[in-house]
Each structure stands twice: as structure tokens, then as C-alpha cells.
């Protein structure tokens, strides 16, 4: 079919010529990245390499892909991985219902049965799944392809991804090879539920996203929940910071900090107090044991510590 030669790689938002400008651009679109992450994203765009992001749940891995599609003004195509995912769910599938109808129609109308098979397995009856959509995308800017939680898929699928990410083409036996005119901008994320194979990582630029520092987290909260007063944002960030040091099963990520702030704002909070924390604990700690532990350690002390920050 189309046989582009994987032309010019990469894409850059207008007005961005270096990592610092990109960092600013990301900030304008409500994503506050530190220097390391902005440099990693900048290199991804420049070199046209997939970006492999790891980190605890809720540190903003998926957000990276979303903000990239916003600043480049290009579609975000998302492939959510899960155990057992295969080519038919990730790349393409035939539209069987329509194929059967076509057979019936051909028979009824006494049509050309010679070429029936060829007709049935033509582009017309092919359903594109995310990976094929990303390769077939037409337009000035390549799309952003998010391959989310790749650690949930299995080895076979990983090997297949490796192939696709190497030459951005896929072969469908009945149709031929479909090659991307311009390779998509690829972001892969992993929660490290298992070690993803080195060969796949080697195709990518790698970045491990850590929990943000206090000041950055305050900034993130201010940007994402503008209704929250600065005092509240600081107290929430401080309290979350304390929780992360408490040795919990699932330390809260930035996503939880934002959820929590939203919950507090919805209750009309202007600053933390014990009663509010108790009422909203479920939006920041998602395990019963973690809530118990935090409550046992003393919500009053948590609030006092956070207010002092």
C-alpha cells in the first residue's frame, strides 16, 4: 500500500529550539517538568526515538503523552496494554460482519465469485487498531502514540513492539507492508510490575520519573487546581511529602495530590484541619492499611507538621 520511506523524523512545537524553551512550553500547557524530563522529551522529538518512561504510579507518565499531543496540536493515539493483548487488538482486525454480508450480497446478485476472496481481504474490510492508526496517520505533524503500561503485556507482544518500533512498518499478509510516512512520536510507560526486556528499552530513550520536590509539587497543584489557595496547596504538598516518608504500601503520587486538593477545595477548605483530612483521606491513600497507619500515626500531628511548612 503506501510505501513512504520513514521520512523526516521528529517534530517540534513552533518557537522551540532547545530544552529550556520546551520546558517553558510544557509549563504553558500545565505540565511542569524538571530539567531532566524536559531534556528527555526534547531529545525524543529531535531524534525521533521512542521515550520509555518508568516511575511509581501517579507521577505523571501518561500526562507526558497527553501534553505532547497538546503542544504539537496533533492527535493522541493510545494503546492500553493488558495481559494477553495481541496483534489483532493492537494493530488490525478484519471486519467479519461486513465480510459475511459482502459474501451474501455477492451470492444474491450473482456477482463475481472469482475475485471474492481478494475483495474480502482488501483495505475496505480492515479495521485499524491503535498501532496501525498511528502508522497510517496523514498530516503535517505525526501523531503521539502512547503505549501505556507495556509491562502488563507479555514477551510475545513485546517482541512484536520491538519490531514495529524499529522500522515503523507492519506487514499484513493479504495487503502488504504499511509503512509510516513519518514515524509517530512514541511514549511508552511502565509501572515496573515486571522487567521489560532490554532489547525494547535499547530502542528508546529512558527516563525514570521521581516524585517531585516540595516546591515543584506546590507549583503543580497551583497549576492543576487553580481554585486552591496557595496556603492550602503548600499544606497539601507538605502533608503528602510526609506520607511518602511514612513507609506506606502505596505512597501517594502527584495524581493523588491533585485529587486530594480537588476534594478539599470541593469541601470549601482554605487550609488543612484534622476533620477535613479524615473526611478526604480516601482520595489520597487508596489502601485501607495505609489509611489506618496514617490515622494511627496521628492526623493532628500530620496537620500540624503540614501547617508549619
Amino acid at each position: 500500500m503506501s510505501s513512504g520511506a520513514n521520512g523526516r523524523r521528529g517534530a517540534m512545537p513552533p518557537g522551540v529550539t532547545n530544552a529550556v524553551e520546551l520546558q517553558k512550553k510544557l509549563g504553558e500547557h500545565d505540565y511542569l517538568a524538571d530539567e531532566g524530563l524536559s531534556t528527555a522529551i526534547y531529545l525524543t522529538l529531535r531524534l525521533g526515538r521512542p521515550l520509555f518512561l518508568e516511575g511509581e504510579a501517579g507521577v505523571g507518565k501518561t500526562e507526558v503523552a497527553k501534553v505532547l499531543s497538546r503542544i504539537l496540536d496533533t492527535p493522541l493515539i493510545r494503546l492500553q496494554c493488558y495481559e494477553g493483548i495481541d496483534v489483532y487488538q493492537a494493530v488490525y482486525e478484519w471486519d467479519y460482519a461486513r465480510q459475511l454480508l459482502h459474501i451474501r450480497a455477492t451470492e444474491a446478485l450473482g456477482g463475481d465469485r472469482e475475485n471474492l476472496e481478494r475483495d474480502l481481504y482488501s483495505r475496505e474490510f480492515l479495521i485499524s487498531r491503535p498501532l496501525l492508526q498511528a502508522l497510517e496517520h496523514e498530516g503535517e505533524t505525526p501523531p503521539v502514540l502512547l503505549i501505556d503500561e507495556v509491562d502488563r503485556s507479555d514477551d510475545e507482544f513485546e517482541a512484536f513492539l520491538l519490531e514495529i518500533l524499529s522500522d515503523f512498518s507492519v506487514t499484513i499478509p493479504e495487503i502488504g507492508t504499511i509503512r509510516a510516512e513519518r514515524p509517530p512520536i512514541v511514549v511508552l510507560t511502565s509501572n515496573r510490575t515486571r522487567e521489560v526486556h532490554d532489547a525494547l528499552k535499547r530502542r528508546c530513550l529512558y527516563f525514570y520519573i521521581e516524585h517531585p520536590g516540595f516546591e515543584r509539587e506546590v507549583e503543580i497543584v497551583r497549576v492543576r487546581v487553580p481554585e486552591a489557595e496557595e496556603r492550602l496547596a503548600r499544606q497539601v504538598a507538605a502533608a503528602v511529602g510526609r506520607m511518602r516518608r511514612m513507609d506506606l504500601y502505596k505512597p501517594p503520587g502527584v495524581a493523588e495530590t491533585i485529587d486530594w486538593t480537588r476534594a478539599l477545595v470541593a469541601l470549601g477548605a482554605r487550609e488543612l484541619d484534622e476533620r477535613l483530612v479524615e473526611a478526604t483521606l480516601g482520595s489520597v491513600l487508596k489502601y485501607h492499611e495505609d489509611q489506618q497507619r496514617t490515622t494511627a500515626a496521628g492526623l493532628a500531628a500530620l496537620v500540624a507538621g503540614a501547617r508549619g511548612a
Binding site: 532547545n18 531532566g36 531534556t39 528527555a40 526534547y42 526515538r49 467479519y96 528499552k201 530513550l205 504500601y249
Partner: protein
């Protein structure tokens, strides 16, 4: 710039990172896009191209500092002295000779020289094994099937009934010109259920550690999805170390990785580390988790109970193997053992080959029930 990048790549490789020439070229390309005269740019260009795991970060930082800031002189930091060193001779792996207990009759000479026929060996307590018998154990373990534990995956395979398979139905219809349509089906394919084995290597277990570690080795090289860890004062993942065929070399590598061999036990803390770092993220989910330990815990017993409860919630089946269980009149009196038992689905002894064979069968059985949907 290329020369410097290549040299830096070599340094990282020496420090244990897997940095091939492809990565180095990627590093150079990244530098071309950035300001190679700026420290931060060089640092991040290298970090995103030359590391691929969070654990690489620390090594990278150290190497970067020394290589780029002290003019490229890089010497590896001296390796911290191990408390447990493995002497190279072939049959002196585990445990240290002095911990091999004399048998009941107290005749040490007889124990070290006698060679038992296979039938006797199968029932002989590991703590009374001679070096020759350990060699024989390797052969026995080779015959032990560990890959038998099956579980369903979400991948589907053709079957006589199950999910409707439109793809294959369509193909079939094509062959007959679209007339007589034979309906086809798929069902979930069975695949080995993951087995995670945690082996206590503290001092009180040392008469058994060597044999049990060989069991871990047999599991890792069986080709089944098999993860192994040692539990002592801390947790050590051994899967990678044990993944070579030669049992002696594999055990030597494992021993090098464990800094707490034959030390104390903080079972609860080590298990917590397992659940936090590996188990909850996915390794223990739906798995058969096997703990090889006598249940002596010098840490907080409540911690152990809590972690066992977590493991029990995550795992498909929990098996506890205690070498002491075979002793006449054994009662689970060790506080840790008593605390753990409520969360154990199957409690076995683990003092001889016969008990390991039963363990292998228990692992398979755990999945067998699953296949029949019970």
C-alpha cells in the same frame, strides 16, 4: 566528542551497565542536539541514552562525576568486603563445612565418606548429606518437573467450544466459497502459572540452605516462569544469578549476591521488602508463592503476620516449607511460624529429596484445581 563518548561508554560498561555501541552512538546524537559544553546537557543526554533502569542511576551519577569532572580518570570504587566469600574449588559451595552437623550417631567420618544408594538418598535428611550426595542430588533435581504448574492466560487458542472465533470462521467460509459456514471457537490457553520461591538463608537454616538453593536453581533453569529470592536480614533477588545451567557456578554467583548468608533473620522485614518491591506490583499476583523457612524470626512477629496476610491476598496459593516439620513431635512453636500459619494454604516439610518432590507436586496441584474451575 565521539572519543570521549566512547571512553565514557566503556567506563559505564566496566561499572556493570549494559552499554553497547548503539547506545554510545545514540549518546553522541543526543549531544549534537544539545549544548555539549554545558554540564547539565551532557549529564541528561547520557542519562536518557545510556541507562535503562532506575538502579543504573546511581552508578551513572558516580561515573559521570568522576569521568567528566575529574578529567576522565575513572577507577571503580573498591567492592565492599563480602561477609560470605565463596572459595573457588568445585564442591565447597554451601554450607561451610563446619555447619554440616554430625548425624545422630555422632560419627562424622562415616557421614562424610558413605555414599547412599538413590532410594536411601531420597529420604535422607539434607543436613546429613556428603559432598558426593549433593552431586547426586543435582541429578535427582534434573528429573524433577517444575514446569507443570499451569494457569490460564488471556490469550486464546482454537478449541471445540468457548469464545466465538469470527476470524477462523471467516477463513473457513472462504475456503468453501462462503457457503457452509462451520463455526469456530477459541478458549483461554493454559500457561505455566508463575512460581515465586523465597528461601530463608539465615544461620538456623544453614544445614538445609545448600540443598534448597539447588532446588531454586533447578526451578529457575526449568524454563517455567520461576522467580527466586533469598530471605535473611534483607531480601536478595537470585533469579538472574541462578539462571545458568552449571549448578556450582550458579550457586557461587548466588552466594556472591547475598550479603546476609548465614546471618540473622528478619523474616517479616525481608518479606515486606518483597511485597513492596516486587509482589504487589505484579510478581505475586496470581502466583504460587513458596516460602522455605523454619520460621525463626528475630524481627517483629506482627510485621511477619501482616506481610503474610498481604501475600495471601495477592497470591493464588501460598506454600510454606519447613525443614523442621519432619522432626518427630514437631510443633510450630517458633513465634514467626505460628504467626504465619493462618496465611498458609499448604504446609510441608523440606528436609529431604522426597519432600522436595512433594513440593513440586504441590505446586502443580495448586494450579490443577484452577483448571477445573474450582
Amino acid at each position: 566528542m565521539v572519543d570521549a563518548a566512547v571512553a565514557f561508554g566503556r567506563v559505564l560498561r566496566g561499572a556493570g551497565l549494559s552499554v553497547g555501541p548503539d547506545r554510545v552512538m545514540e549518546f553522541v546524537r543526543a549531544l549534537e542536539e544539545l549544548d555539549a559544553g554545558r554540564r547539565e546537557d551532557v549529564y541528561w543526554a547520557g542519562k536518557v541514552t545510556l541507562t535503562s533502569r532506575p538502579e543504573d542511576g546511581e552508578t551513572y551519577d558516580r561515573a559521570f562525576e568522576i569521568f567528566w569532572e575529574r578529567g576522565g580518570e575513572y577507577r571503580q570504587r573498591p567492592v565492599p568486603k563480602m561477609r560470605f566469600r565463596i572459595p573457588p574449588p568445585k564442591d565447597s559451595v554451601l554450607p561451610a563445612k563446619k555447619t554440616v552437623r554430625p548425624n545422630r550417631e555422632g560419627d562424622r567420618e562415616a557421614v562424610t565418606l558413605r555414599y547412599s544408594p538413590v532410594e536411601v538418598l531420597r529420604r535422607k535428611d539434607f543436613s546429613e548429606y556428603t559432598p558426593e550426595e549433593f552431586r547426586e542430588l543435582d541429578r535427582l533435581l534434573e528429573e524433577l518437573s517444575l514446569g507443570g504448574a499451569l494457569r490460564k492466560t488471556r490469550r486464546l487458542e482454537p478449541a471445540r467450544r468457548g469464545h466465538y472465533d469470527a476470524r477462523r470462521t471467516m477463513r473457513g467460509a472462504m475456503r468453501t466459497g462462503g457457503e457452509t459456514v462451520r463455526h469456530r471457537f477459541r478458549r483461554a490457553r493454559s500457561e505455566p502459572r508463575r512460581v515465586v520461591v523465597l528461601c530463608d538463608v539465615s544461620g538456623s537454616m544453614s544445614p538445609y540452605s545448600r540443598a534448597l538453593l539447588r532446588f531454586l536453581h533447578a526451578g529457575v533453569i526449568s524454563g517455567a516462569p520461576f522467580e527466586s529470592f533469598s530471605l535473611g536480614t534483607r531480601l536478595t533477588r537470585l533469579t538472574r544469578e541462578l539462571a545458568i545451567r552449571d549448578p556450582d557456578a550458579a550457586l557461587r554467583r548466588a552466594a556472591d549476591a547475598m550479603e546476609d548468608f548465614s546471618g540473622g533473620t528478619r523474616l517479616g522485614d525481608a518479606l515486606k521488602e518483597f511485597v513492596d518491591r516486587w509482589g504487589q506490583r505484579g510478581m505475586a499476583r496470581g502466583a504460587v508463592v513458596v516460602i522455605l523457612s523454619d520460621g525463626w524470626d528475630r524481627g517483629d512477629v506482627d510485621v511477619l503476620a501482616e506481610q503474610m496476610a498481604r501475600i495471601h491476598r495477592l497470591a493464588y496459593h501460598v506454600i510454606w516449607v519447613n525443614p523442621l516439620k519432619a522432626r518427630p513431635g514437631y510443633q510450630p512453636l517458633a513465634a514467626g511460624m505460628a504467626a504465619a500459619l493462618p496465611y498458609v494454604d499448604t504446609f510441608l516439610s523440606g528436609n529431604n529429596f522426597e519432600s522436595l518432590r512433594r513440593l513440586a507436586r504441590a505446586i502443580s496441584d495448586a494450579a490443577e484445581r484452577d483448571r477445573h474451575g474450582a
